[in-house]
């Protein structure tokens, strides 16, 4: 029995919902009043994740925080074909590299989006440079992949690395970060949206055709 501690407007929760849906897994969404209630900073939630952040996933006795760790677990436990997290050492390591990149270098983008969304008086300028740089790195990587006939971040097919990167980048325009100079990113966003089981969240536009 899988439970996801979830907030509808959280991009990190969304990436775990994406994989749950793509794997066709049933789960219960335990909705957390992140805004305005700040329930994620209260003792009951801190007992689940001392960092006070969603998502948290439980599966039986197992309890996990960190979206990338959750993606890793779901892929290993529920994808016997090992498409989402391949076994080959080089590919698995590339996936790990991009998962770490998503967790660390897309964090400013995620933080800026949330501050903007809940209307705090935050100066977003310091977030801008690292956010643009992170998107540029993904753009360069994807453009290089395309030259080699590759269309995904870490393998010849979609992996959890693609899902880990997707939400923050897809919603960058919500925070005033334009993706017009990132054509390879645009094409890749479209490919992710064509994956079977793809779902949207507010801020992620659905495929219109």
């Amino acid at each position: 029995m899988i439970t996801l501690y979830d907030y509808i407007l959280c991009g990190d929760c969304y990436k775990t919902r994406l994989l749950l849906n793509m794997l066709g897994l049933d789960y219960t969404a335990a909705k957390v009043d992140v805004h305005p209630g700040r329930e994620d900073r209260k003792p009951a939630f801190l007992a689940l994740n001392p960092l006070g952040r969603i998502p948290v996933l439980t599966d039986g006795e197992l309890r996990l925080f960190d979206a990338e760790a959750i993606l890793t677990y779901l892929a290993l436990a529920y994808d016997p074909a090992r498409q989402w997290l391949p076994q080959d050492p080089a590919t698995a390591a590339r996936v790990a590299m991009w998962l770490a990149f998503a967790g660390q270098h897309l964090a400013p983008l995620t933080a800026a989006r949330m501050a903007n969304l809940i209307g705090t008086e935050t100066d977003l300028a310091p977030y801008r440079v690292p956010s643009l740089r992170a998107i540029e790195i993904v753009e360069d990587h994807l453009a290089e992949c395309e030259l080699m006939g590759q269309h995904w971040v870490a393998a010849p097919h979609a992996t959890i690395a693609d899902l880990a990167l997707f939400p923050a980048i897809a919603m960058a325009p919500e925070t005033g970060i334009c993706l017009n100079a990132s054509p390879a990113v645009w094409r890749w966003l479209g490919r992710v949206k064509h994956l079977p089981g793809f779902i949207v969240m507010p801020g992620v536009l659905p495929l219109l055709a």
Partner: protein
């Protein structure tokens, strides 16, 4: 940004915080009409508001707590705070929905709120469905000596009109606009027959094209938790937000040559004409072309 010189905007009331934003004596910093302000609650529960700037810091005279929100007028109040007698009636649940920042003008946000035709495209599966996009005719009228603008007899097919709605159905609506920055929906409850649910939007224009939206719901719902209600509404409002922030120009165009309305836009047209007649300039675009 400096405080606006638009006296019409200055003389109106705006929500600048929810009471719950003022926890543990912390000062709540925000902006209103281009002016930085600080709102605080002292040990006796007294709410104070200060304009704060590099060269000045003085108290704001007109500060009122109502409906669990803090209302401020930076000028001389030209009208009363919107009356919502339903809040005192039994049977409904009152819930503040948390502030959401939207980088556009207040009038754009209000216009989107009462627009019916976007439901089927922006709120798929909740407020609309791509198979029933028609907006049946509705009536637009002025009440309270033209101080309020209403759209009545609105109806629309909605797959899931509220968090409590179990199945789709045709839902009847009235929209009430009491100021350029305040609007309230009265809509059929799908669980309490013959009763109305209310949803209110109080826009806090921080700058001409940057707002915070405060809102509440007052609904018949015995089944959902507060958090479930919040998630339901946040999903819908974030869908609106993602459309709103891309609308251009950000100020609401008021001149007839700037628009190509259809019958379903009757309320938008009335709202734009109503604003055009007023002296308001804050958040509107009066360019002829």
């Amino acid at each position: 940004m400096a405080i606006t010189t638009d006296q019409t905007a200055l003389d109106d009331w705006y929500v600048v915080a929810a009471m719950s934003d003022l926890v543990d004596g912390a000062v709540h910093r925000t902006r209103l009409l281009g002016q930085a302000i600080m709102v605080a609650c002292d040990a006796d529960g007294l709410i104070t508001c200060h304009e704060s700037g590099p060269t000045h810091d003085h108290p704001v005279c007109h500060v009122i707590t109502r409906y669990g929100f803090i209302w401020v007028c930076l000028g001389h109040p030209a009208r009363a705070i919107v009356a919502i007698p339903e809040i005192g009636e039994p049977g409904r649940r009152f819930l503040q929905r948390g502030r959401i920042g939207v980088a556009t003008s207040g009038p754009r946000i209000i216009e989107n709120f009462f627009d019916l035709s976007h439901f089927s495209f922006v709120h798929l599966g909740t407020l609309g469905d791509q198979d029933s996009t028609e907006v049946p005719r509705y009536t637009v009228n002025f009440r309270e000596d033209a101080a309020e603008l209403w759209a009545t007899e609105c109806r629309f097919f909605q797959p899931k009109a509220s968090a409590a709605a179990g199945s789709g159905g045709e839902v009847f609506y009235n929209y009430r606009v009491t100021s350029p920055f305040v609007s309230i929906i009265y809509k059929d409850s799908l669980v309490a027959t013959g009763k109305l649910d209310l949803i209110g939007l109080f826009v806090q224009p921080r700058e001409e094209t940057d707002c915070i939206v405060h809102s509440f719901c007052l609904v018949h719902d015995e089944t959902n938790s507060d958090t479930e209600l919040l998630h339901f509404y946040h999903e819908i409002f974030a869908q609106d937000r993602s459309v709103l922030i891309h609308q251009t120009p950000k100020g609401l165009p008021l001149m007839p040559r700037r628009e190509i309305p259809t019958q379903s836009d009757a309320m938008s047209i009335a709202y734009r004409r109503w604003l055009k007649k007023s002296p308001l300039t804050f958040g509107v675009d009066r360019a002829a072309w």
